[in-house]
Amino acid sequence: MNWNWLNRNTDQILSWLLAHLWLAALPTLLGLLLALPLGAIAFRYRWSYAALITVAGLLYTIPSIALFVVLPGILGTRILNPLNVVVALTLFTLALLVRVVADALDSVPPPVRQSATAMGYRPIRSLLTVQLPLAIPVIGAGLRVAAVSNVSLVSVAALLGVPQLGQLFLVGFQLDFYTPIIAGIVLCLLVAAVFDTIILVAVRLATPWTRAVSHR
């Protein structure tokens, strides 16, 4: 481990770290926001479930690097534009979460759903205020997977020259030098751990009832 090299390049590494943070965080959030309505549609209309899940599955099999390369052509962006990364990872997140959201909504016990109907809830309100809150733990678990996989997928974009922690791996390979590689791995793990913790805490705060212990 060459600490001098790290000291000399601290500023550069920090800027890559920052870029990495938002390049991974933004698609996770956008993907979730898009997955909620689409997942709700897949849940609500059985015929759309199969279609949406199939498309999502296909999307997920596209190698990330291919998407990074193809997107500029579709979006009219430059290859170095970080927007390509954001769009690609948003699609991956969406592909992962559509199914998670649909299945999470489906996991709400039928009696609870039926009693919402029986009380006089309209479908949208029941979805938003009864089913969605109850689906939070399952959606949260899916979101943790998506966030962590986004952290690692962002690194791939380094091959295109988009600056973020992945650059450390390129530098390491080019110089046949382990310090940047180890630093890159440690920082990626750190970012993943931070995201994971944030989601975990958010889910806990949003679901106080799951921790209510029996007073019986």
């Binding site: 009696p111 609870v112 029986a118 006089g120 009832w209 212990v213 007073h215």
Partner: protein, 402 residues
Amino acid sequence: MINFDNVSKTFGEGDHRTAAVDDLTIEIPTGKITVFVGPSGCGKTTSLRMINRMIEPTSGTVLIDGVDTRSIDAPTLRRGIGYVIQNAGLFPHRTVLDNIATVPVLQGQSRRSARATAAELLERVGLPESMGQRYPAQLSGGQQQRVGVARALAADPPVMLMDEPFSAVDPVVRAQLQDEFTRLQAELGKTIVFVTHDIDEAVKLGDGIAVLAIGGRLAQYATPAEVLSHPADDFVADFVGRDRGYRALSFTAAGQLPVHEEPTLRLGSSPARGPAPSSAPVGEPYWVLVVDDARQPRGWVDARRLTSGRGVELGDLVLGGSLADPHASLRTALDAALSSPSGRGVAIDADGRVIGTVAARDVLRAIEAARVNAPHSPGQGTSPGAGAREGEADPAAAAVPS
């Protein structure tokens, strides 16, 4: 009043068609408890859910107070009808108070005022106010079921639908919930449609009982007494069960039973003339009824076992079984006689004071008399029958030997 007019419901198509409800025509009276009872899968839930349009009939009309339910927007209709689901179906993510406040909030009341009403309701269903802040998972099954009832009552709907509300709790809690429910209904006078597969529950709670057979056929619609004493067909007789004859005694008032004078002994005192009279058969226990200072029965004592001069203590007593209130049913009177060690059932007045004893042979005589005088109407139709309902209003009428 709720009317089903030739209502049918089939699920599925072609070979998978199931008739859940078959041409149901029934009139459900206002302010009474009407029970839909029948074996599992006979269409009880389906019938119930066609009232609040959770299920739409395949054909026929459901009317509430003469209004076709299809003319009312479904969610609006449902907010005006209380619904208690099996296993309570509470919202796990809301506190007990917020669960109860559900419908008022949906109707546009402020959360604050809805919670205030909810707190009052909590007390009404026998739960402490402190429970309002808990989540459903922190409540026992019985408590959850009470919250379910409170939630259904929150908007004070004139009509309540209850789908096996007490099936998931143990028998002791169930009996307790049933008793409280009866008391609550006596105060509230709601129009209640109650679904159960348990004929005992139906008989206990129902003002009228609709017995449904598999395939959604209405087999009999009558008062509980009528269903027990005159089942409309073999299906009903079979469903009602073996000891229906004995259970039917619940509906025959014991009003005219002779009450025999019974010498009593005060707790703490000793028999004035020795432990047992010499006329009593030797070798058999000689039972004397022991009462307290308020003349309430405490138990029986075998006078032969008492030592002369010593006062009767609680420890000497054999507890006698149930008590017969002469205004109660023949079933209670018979049970009191059969469960008493002396064979004489203790009869009490409204304040619980001993007025004498009833004998099993007198109960049997009354049963014979009631049988001879019972009306033999065919017990099937679209309403429980005006005559039968009048009989119910005056329970003694059925038992008076004319």
